[in-house]
Amino acid sequence: MATEDGGSGLNIHPMDQFLVKPLFGGDGTIGMFTITNVTLWLAIAVVCIIALMVLGTRGRAIVPSRSQSIAEVLYGFIHKMVEDTTGKDGLAYFPYIFTLFIFILVANFVGLLPKSFTTTSHIAVTATLAMAVFLAVTVLGFVKNGASFLSMFWVASAPLALRPILALIEVISYFVRPVSHSIRLAGNMMAGHAVIKVFAGFAVVTWIAPASILAITAIYALEMLVVSIQAYVFTILTCVYLKDALHPHH
């Protein structure tokens, strides 16, 4: 692997893992429908989701098998989250929120496999998810509440003089939501994977290798935690935004 470009003898390219490449050579250009490594790893995530949620539950057992109980735990976890955060009327959107959660969770975990491509480390992916949530929630807010949805930005409990300022802040924070929502997920994924790659690059130096490998192991464990937490965070923020759309009055 070690090549001679790079002056120090170390040859660390932590960002290479994020390159989008056509899967079947071709002329190297990437069009909209080109089958790339993105396609491959998204497909692998879908296969894993099917294995867990569809094949795993096909026994429909009263006493669940292992995979069925994992699926049930995930279902119960998200169901409770939606109900607790957005209330009973939020449960109508449970399938959408569960789709988001299971996709992010599985894509994150699949991305932790060595040699894999992490789809959720890409802004294009997380921004699409976040914009979908943002647009859906905004449209839903206006459909459900009409113009009174705008009262969300008008803090009636604050002194009158402060209200315009607060309204400005509320509007800005509302539009920053999809940005933070998407960058949080992509940033966490990218940073963790890049750090692992950097440590892996150091492992070619004999006397650093043990420490490097230990560090990779530790960070890998940390990343397992981070990918679950980021899936959770993305989902619960979606629930919070949905609650604002359903009940805009503070």
Binding site: M1, V20, T36, P64, I102, A124
Partner: protein, 172 residues
């Protein structure tokens, strides 16, 4: 692999906008597939399994409650039967005791009467024996006194006066 290692990322591949349409297209396809699978297959299935399990647990609990009530009932019936049986046993014991007492009283009375009769009979016999003995003592005393008087004072008095004197002495 050989071709791949020569190709390195310039800056952040995340910001290479030329790959965005591709990523977004495949992401949307993926999300649609996942959504259809979840909303049509997985989630209703899990919901039905959970509901079924909930129902099964509830019916089991109900059944257990019912059985518990039955057990309590059975225990009450058992205790009642026990109390009844004890009461009955007590009356039987009391009856038996009364009957035995009656028999015993009859037997005692009979025995007492018999004993009384026997002792009266014995008293009569004793009296007779004692009287006889007294008579014999008198006889012997008279005879002895007569003989003694005859021996000491020959010809003094007669047997009749001696006898009277002895009888007077015996009475005294």
């Amino acid at each position: 692999m050989a071709t791949e290692t020569t190709e390195h990322a310039q800056g952040m591949p995340q910001l290479d906008f030329s790959t965005f349409p591709n990523q977004i297209f495949w992401l949307v396809v993926t999300l649609i597939v996942v959504y259809l699978l979840m909303s049509r297959v997985a989630l209703p299935r899990i919901a039905s399994v959970l509901a079924e399990r909930h129902g099964a647990i509830q019916s089991d609990l109900d059944k257990a409650e019912e059985m518990k009530a039955k057990a309590v009932e059975a225990e009450a019936a058992y205790n009642q039967a026990l109390v009844d049986a004890r009461a009955e046993a007590q009356t039987i014991v009391a009856d038996a005791r009364a009957e035995i007492q009656k028999d015993l009283d009859v037997a005692m009375a009979k025995a007492d009467a018999e004993i009384a009769a026997k002792s009266a009979e014995s008293a009569v016999a004793i009296k007779e024996i004692s009287d006889n003995a007294m008579d014999a003592v008198k006889e012997v005393a008279n005879d002895t006194a007569v003989e003694i008087v005859k021996a000491m004072m020959p010809g003094a008095g007669d047997a009749k006066s001696v006898k009277a004197a002895v009888t007077a002495r015996l009475k005294g």
